[in-house]
């Protein structure tokens, strides 16, 4: 079995608006950058996967027909992944599977977003839920996260300021990330004083609305330009959660409130990667978290600290960039969250750390192993990956 490796990466600076590009142009620009980064000839790709979540934000149905044909690898298209914010990591996992199985030697994964061309994301993404029941109440990503945050605060006696510690950490990290959309640090008090959207979630708790793009070339070891440490995809896990979030918030079945579905995905990834104690065997983590509560639940579900302790540990300095196990040294989705590429960006940031090419955001890796996640829907798609050098 071939071990899939990251051969090349590229990401575009995340911004609210990228006015100089159409979707197709942005996709092409980032795709060719990643191939160039790998040193591979664009004609030598034999696979292409497009990360493309709901296209209502682009205002173009089936946008792959606009953006795909001119990309390297387009003679060997393997498919489009459509899983909201999990699309990028899911697409990367599938690309690795093709390489691993020997069905392709080099597969390009690419995604792009122009999020500000639609009047508001609530309208564009407002059709996510069951139209007969859940959509009859006021449900969106913010209210869904707020339901998790309320339960977490009650179960673990966590305060709003402790909850804000995630955003404070990530916004501080984002200052050092030249690709980040939000590069200003904030204090816990500023988070607590920002407008209340859905108690206890405030405006500064939320990821921004982002445009951006990212691409990764995956291939067998030795098929890139060389000169870099080999970054292997060491293991993956995936779990599809309940269709109704209320199905998983009762005693005995609480995965919506405690992250057990993500833990199930992590167990698969750890088993494949041979990780027995993630607290000591993981050097760094790039975790998808559009809201602070998602990062808290993720840290705990991934086994990086005991249940209910993540917020206080972050407030005490744990999981910061200079800690033993940094979480989101890039600033994470807190500082920029383009849906099609956010999962790819987690992999890119992990790879840059392992290559030692993360620049100002480079952290000292206790272990050459980085954890990546993506979560989408209302805590429904869960993707976990382990990258190792």
């Amino acid at each position: 079995m071939t071990v899939p490796c990251v051969l090349g990466v590229a990401q575009f600076p995340m911004r609210t608006r990228l006015p100089d590009y159409t979707y197709a142009d942005l996709l092409g620009r980032i795709a060719y950058q990643a191939v160039e980064d790998s040193g591979v000839d664009p004609g030598d790709l034999d696979g292409l996967i497009l990360s493309l979540p709901p296209t209502t934000t682009l205002g173009v149905d089936e946008a792959q027909y606009w953006g795909l044909a001119h990309l390297p690898g387009s003679r060997h298209v393997l498919g489009r992944v459509h899983a909201a914010a999990a699309s990028g990591l899911q697409a990367f996992r599938l690309a690795c599977a093709w390489v691993s199985a020997g069905r392709a030697r080099r597969v390009l994964v690419v995604g792009a977003d122009l999020a500000d061309e639609v009047a508001n994301l609530a309208g564009a993404l407002g059709q996510l839920h069951d139209p007969f029941t859940e959509r009859q109440v006021v449900r969106n990503a913010i209210t869904s996260a707020a339901v998790q945050a309320s339960a977490y605060m009650a179960a673990h006696k966590v305060t709003s300021l402790e909850l804000a510690s995630v955003v404070v950490k990530n916004r501080g990290n984002g200052v050092r990330n030249q690709y980040a959309q939000l590069r200003q640090a904030v204090t816990g008090q500023e988070v607590a004083d920002s407008p209340l959207l859905s108690w206890p979630i405030r405006r500064l708790d939320c990821a921004p609305r982002s445009s951006g793009a990212a691409a990764i070339l995956v291939g067998a070891e030795g098929t890139g330009r060389g000169g870099r440490r080999t970054v292997r995809a060491a293991g993956f896990g995936a779990f599809a959660g309940a269709r109704m979030i209320g199905s998983r918030m009762v005693p005995g079945a609480q995965s919506y409130l405690d992250g057990a579905d993500l833990a199930a995905a992590a167990a698969q990834a750890y088993a494949v990667a041979g990780i027995r104690d993630p607290r000591t065997e993981i050097g760094c983590a790039e975790l998808y978290a559009a809201f602070g509560i998602i990062e808290l639940l993720s840290i705990e579900a991934l086994g990086l600290c005991p249940k209910g302790e993540a917020a206080r540990r972050i407030a005490d300095g744990e999981f910061h960039a200079d800690a033993a196990l940094p979480v989101n040294p890039s600033g994470g989705a807190t500082c920029g969250n383009p849906l099609a590429s956010t999962g790819l960006i987690r992999v890119i940031e992990a790879t840059l750390q392992l290559w030692g090419e993360a620049g100002e955001k480079q952290v000292e890796l206790r272990q050459p192993t980085v954890l990546v996640t993506a979560i989408a829907g209302a805590f429904q798609s869960h993707e976990v990956g382990v990258l190792a050098a």
């Binding site: 109440v137 006021v138 449900r139 707020a146 309320s150 407008p195 859905s198 108690w199 199905s247 409130l257």
Partner: protein, 161 residues
């Protein structure tokens, strides 16, 4: 995209956008279990689907259980009392929602193994007491003339928090 219009910059006159709008009307067709469920609401009854072999009761009803992968059987009544499992107080205006602030709760009806969303009414929460809602007892209260719609009922606390 049914309508598009070319746009020009107000000052320079340069072409710089195309304005468009989606026009998609949808008529969602319910499953038989949902037809029965909404029929129950018209009689002021909450119905759930029991999973064959395990007894798990899913509200609102589904044809299959996502935990055991087994089919569900004829619907059974649950509630109207229940326990709040989580909540949020929504401060944003939603096109399909009541004026903010509105308290959205997830309630596990008595006899059910899932929690269902709805609005909590008739309670003025004091700041700092919000989290006391979790675990609080409540009950479904119906409008006088239910139409067979999720909005036929709301929740009220059995005792104030």
């Amino acid at each position: 995209m049914n309508k598009t219009t070319a746009g020009h910059d107000a000052e320079s006159g340069d072409f710089n956008f195309v304005e468009g709008e989606w026009e998609v009307h949808q008529r969602y067709v319910p499953s038989r279990a949902l037809v029965e469920f909404f029929g129950g609401l018209k009689r002021k009854e909450i119905l759930g689907s029991p999973v064959e072999g395990t007894g798990r009761i899913i509200v609102p009803p589904q044809d299959f259980c996502e935990l055991s992968y087994r089919p569900t059987g004829p619907l059974v009544p649950v509630g109207p009392g229940g326990t709040i499992r989580s909540f949020t107080i929504v401060h944003s205006r939603f096109a399909n929602g009541p004026p903010p602030p509105v308290t959205m709760v997830f309630v596990q009806f008595d006899g059910a193994d899932t929690a269902s969303p709805g609005y909590l009414q008739g309670t003025a929460l004091q700041p700092g007491t919000e989290l006391e809602l979790i675990g609080a007892r409540c009950r479904a209260v119906f409008v006088d003339a239910p139409q067979g719609d999720w909005r036929d009922f709301w929740f009220e606390l059995e005792t104030e928090v």
